[in-house]
Amino acid sequence: MNGVRQGWLVARREMRERSRSRAFQASVLLMIVGVVAVLILPAMLKPDSTRDIGITGPAPAALTATIAQQARAADITASIHPYASLAAGEQAVRQGQVDVLVAGAGRLEWRGKPDEQLKSMVTGAIQLASVRERAAAAGISPGSLATLLAPVPVTSVELGSVAGRGPGDEMAVLVMTIVLFFGISVFGQMVLTGVLEEKASRVVEVLLARIPARALLAGKIAGIGLLGLAQIGVTALAALVAVASVDSIDVPAVRGPVLAWALVWFVLGYTLYATVYGALGSLGSRVEDAQSVAGPVMVVMAVAYFASFVTVGKPDSTAAKVLSYFPLTAPMAMPGRIAMGATAWWEPVVAAGLTLAAIAGLVTLAGRVYTRAILHSGPALSLRDVWRGSAASGRGVSAAGARETAPPPQPAGVTAGERTTMTGSDTARHRWLITVLTGTGVIIGVAIAILTADVIIGVAAGAGFIAVANQMARLWTRHTGPPVAHR
């Protein structure tokens, strides 16, 4: 029985048991409903696009036909309503039955501010109809008039901030970065709590009597990761179907290599952070210890997340390049640079190699921490305890008795956030933390909105950050009842 097969059994159990839980099923369903709603609702709620145009008073004979023709050219659905008197026409404008009243082919009447697009369309139509009428009066044949008035085609292009990529691409990159951050942190956290649950329920000793610690940790990471990929895949599929059914949304051309790389970076980023989360999870003893042992990782992830936004606006800047190579930020920064076409083919390969090397190093370190800490019971360990090996597995086991239950060394101020007990001032500090996180989220949202000149993206990024940060902070402060007496 080799470790790989055992790891696969562990992974399979994770997938089966987790996908069976009501909470997980509800979260998947909620995610799909939410994403589909966000994509479809704006299109469904969009006001009626038919423009109503009223006409009254003397006008060139061909005006109605010309307006219809111009509207078609401008891709506007127009409906034309003639009114017998000016008063009837104005009444219709005031009641909102028509958007604009063409009074005597010389004046446009609006209820409020003129709609510029409609105004230029109708004005153009009036000019054209008048010119045709005058030309006919001057004896110019319709044929030569058409030649005279043949329009010179003028097109508009949205350049965005990077050559070869449009604003649609930028938005897609932002969405992708947000999804990567959410995915990596949510599923990384699942590894953390999973490790702690096994430790708290003591099942871990039964398991470790049968399989090596590394197989258990690796299997857990793989199982949760595959489940996460499946969840993201299903949600993405639902999103694609939703987008396809609503043709009014502009989908930036999805490029295969970009998607493939995003997938690769999700796997790399998740593996990197989940390994760290798993190792830190083994330091705690109870599920409530989760946030106190994992706090530093959350901060690192949050910073990596903000930093990755630099790459969207300026994918060629030095900062963006550095971030996309540094293993802790690469999973969130590199996909954006790839999508913005700012990388040579070898750049993501080198960055992935660096991240893989970092993962290999972390797996070794995490395996050592996990193996040593996983059978420890009692107060949460600090990394230093584990490192020095004084708290090696077996210490503090109550059966092994009085002589072994001396509390593990807990030097003051060893590693930030390793304490397990919660005092009143801690609670106050966490409330303060939530306020700061929310404020930071707002600032980030505003900054991104200004940077990208897009309110929606700013709100999405800010709200995404606040949601994740607050969830983490809530987990952090979660403690049921008074601290359990340490053994």
Binding site: E17, E205, V206, S390, G394
Partner: protein, 295 residues
Amino acid sequence: MLGFDGVTKRFGPVTALDRCTFAVRPGRLTGFLGPNGAGKTTAMRAVFGLVELDQGTVRWRGGPVGPADRARFGYMPEERGLYPRMRVRDQLVYLGQLCGRAPLDVTRSVDAWLERLGLTGRAADRLDALSHGNQQRVQLIAALVNEPDLLVLDEPFSGLDPIAMSVMGELLAGLAAEGTTVLFSSHQLDLVQDLCQDVVIIEHGQIVLAGELAELRAKVPQRFIDIRYRGPAPDWSRLTRAAVVEAADGVARLRVGPDTDIAAVLTAVGERADLISFSYQPPTLSELFRQAVAA
């Protein structure tokens, strides 16, 4: 045959196991005794590689214990624990598969054990829906799902009611009779004396006594005489080579040497009272244990 060969484990300044050497024979029940903190759990964990040893080796059938051997071991840790939210049968099948057994074999074993311990009706329930006693049974099955050659149980009798205790005792005796090597720790010395053929006593990380229980008892020079009588108390001071361990109305326990004249004891009793019963025994396991640990 499980063998501890000079096994030493230190936790910082504390030596949990100090050059432990003893053997656990197949087909017999071996009781592992010692005061709290003597090193029993650490020794049991060492069998499963859960502690990194500083010195010595744990051997199985002559060679150092490896992963392939452990796949044929069963373990019930003192800190009981399984997945609370996982269904009983799924959980047991999973644990069996981790030992490398084919799913079909595991399923067959699990169903047989569930049936034998009266849990068939609860197989599809989540573990946390079961009573404490039933959870204990599931925990025992978890140690048995791979039909182990070696079974190591840390305090299997703690927290059991008298009926569950006798069921557990019969079960362990049955497994031993089928050839399984069984090592279990306990503080219930009377129970161990009734159940086990072999004992190992550990104190401060050192093995102070190990071997066949009957032999160990016989080897001790003291013998004990239990007397029940009717009438006034005999004059024990007349007996020169006997010490009174316990004397109450109608009952007495005397400690005597191997060369004590039993007839003299009987005469002393008969002078004043009527003898009801008389027994001449080696020390009980309790007495053996107290002596060994006090030494």
